[in-house]
């Protein structure tokens, strides 16, 4: 379980997160939704070690992960899929995947790679092609696959729907759901696209200007008209 307690982050004078507390249990998908600039990416980047928090902490199964280096946090079992499908264009699909678990034993890596290919068959088909020949949806799958190569206990997904067609978004979010159900990974999903995210999440968290305004079961959040109007803009 990933536990985030009272996390506060500022960029100089700009306070991007203020006292954020969230629990993400194993096998569940927790969706953090909020408008552009709410602090969603900041939350993810802090958990992955790319940003140092001013206060608060996060633990994974009791172990503190905040204020550590990104490469150490991955080894502790937290894998981030950054915003914007960051795959390495010059490398092939398989080489991109391999990057995700370079420090692991070769045999373990092979097993995980086979699992990733099971989950994303399109990556198996395209494994010898360069990443920059893939479509947006395929590249998002590759980015998720690379994160899975570290065999994480907790997966952080920063706006996987960004710039993808609605049908593709639904497909990818269903894969994420399956992943949580089958592998018991704790998934923290951040989305501006609230409708689809809440449809497949267990828990919803509404973030506004760096503060949590509501936490609850995803269906309850999705059906709360006041919340929708005030913070999600639909």
């Amino acid at each position: 379980m990933l536990s985030i307690t009272d996390l506060t982050v500022s960029y100089g004078p700009v306070e991007a997160l203020n006292g954020v507390t969230i629990s993400v249990p194993r096998g569940e998908v927790t969706a953090v939704i909020g408008a552009n600039g709410a602090g969603k990416s900041t939350l993810m980047r802090t958990l992955a070690g790319l940003v140092t928090p001013a206060a608060g902490q996060a633990t994974l199964d009791g172990e503190i992960i905040t204020r550590k280096r990104p490469e150490d946090i991955v080894r502790m079992g937290v894998a981030l899929v950054p915003e914007g499908r960051s795959t390495i264009p010059e490398l092939t699909v398989e080489e991109n995947l391999r990057l995700g678990g370079l420090w692991r034993q070769k045999s373990d890596r092979r097993t995980t790679q086979a699992e990733v290919f099971d989950l994303f068959p399109v990556l198996a088909e395209r494994q010898r092609m360069r990443a920059d020949t893939l479509s947006g949806g395929e590249r998002q799958q590759l980015a998720i696959g690379r994160a899975l190569m570290s065999n994480p206990k907790c997966l952080l997904l920063d706006e996987p729907s960004l710039g993808l067609a609605p049908l593709i978004v639904t497909q990818i979010l269903h894969l994420v759901r399956r992943l949580a159900d089958e592998t018991r990974i704790a998934v923290l999903l951040v989305e501006q696209n609230a409708v689809t995210a809440l449809r497949m999440a267990d828990t919803g968290v509404v973030l506004n200007l760096g503060r949590i305004v509501q936490t609850g079961p995803a269906p309850a959040i999705a059906s709360d008209e006041k919340l929708r109007h005030a913070y999600l803009g639909y």
Partner: protein
Amino acid sequence: MTSLLRFPGARLVSHAAFVIIIWFLVMRLNDSVDPLANYYIALVAMYATAMFGMVILVGLSGQVSLGNGALMAVGGYVFAVTSLHWQTVPILGVPWNGWWSMVFAAVGGIVVGLLIGGIAARLRGPYLAGLTLGLAVGVPAIANRFPELLGGESGLMLTVPYPEGGYAPVEEEVFVDSSADTLSGDASTMAVPSADAAVSPDDMLTMDNFPTTDASAAVPSVDASVIDPGATDMSGVDLSGTGDLIDASFIIERWQAGLAITVACIAAFIALNLVRGRQGRVWRAVRDDSVAAAVAGISPAKAKVSAFAVSSLFAALAGAVFAQILSYVGPGAFGLGLSLSLLVGVVLGGRSSLLGAVIGGLLLVWLPEFVLSLSEKGGWGDQITNNAPNLIYGLLVVLVVLLAPGGIVGSVQMLIAKVTRRAPKGV
């Protein structure tokens, strides 16, 4: 090539085979040309060695360096100072020879590379360019601070390395008419040259003063029939043990080129394995997306430092070879111009390709000669002739960066990819 073989270590073996074949072919070529061509081959191999490092540093890890000429100076000076002053290997106590100087030059290169890389990893873009530019200007100037040890502005003359037993000693100054009996064949000690060995760099860096043995003194105009190729390769040296006599047809340029080729091939083997293996993927990942690399468990800082260390190792090896080609080290030989040439060569050849480094090396050697021949035909003044290559470099770099960022190799790969409709794959 690698897809044919699938046993563990197959890539290592195929890279070794590839490099050995290239080495053999180039050595054959080296043995069949005249000494002036030997000299050019040595320069191309020397540039290629340094630029393998540039491909890794600039092309793969994405760190611009305007200072690799200074890293070459480190190798050159370590080679010079150790070969001039040390008779035995410290700690081991075994007799010194030129190969040990190469080893120490390599170690010096790695150490300096780690130091510089540690600083460079914290800098980006213009600041990194500034730091490396400072190196290019500052490092050669260190020689002036320690004139006794490093020879100051006028540099240090080296004894011409001698092939027997790797590097045998030369008792007398090399520039004197070296009829065979002035040269001792005793391979167990390294001679310290006479104190007046230093000469002015201005005298040194011209082709006219390029150090030659008597056998090849008439280099540029030599009639090919005078030299019998069969008798002038390295095996032409008398190794029978009875004689300390040198075959009169021994050609120092040929031997130096052989050394440069061998070092370039060793560097190529190391570079191939790094570039095509796991480390190459790490460097590219950090270059293209350091955030993605970090969250994938790669340390961007370590990747950047390791790229610097490897490129510095290659630069130092090239510097040690350069010192031997010139039989001299001096601040002028490793100036800003050399650093910039390396960057130009690698950008023109193709900055993420090892083949591009070789092509870049050819260009760096061929272009000034080409300009010289034009100048002779056109009757240009010295001013124009000396500056024209730099002007052409500048124009070419601008054109390449604007029109063909992948350089020569990148453009050819794109063309092939277009024709065969397959994704281009880097070397």
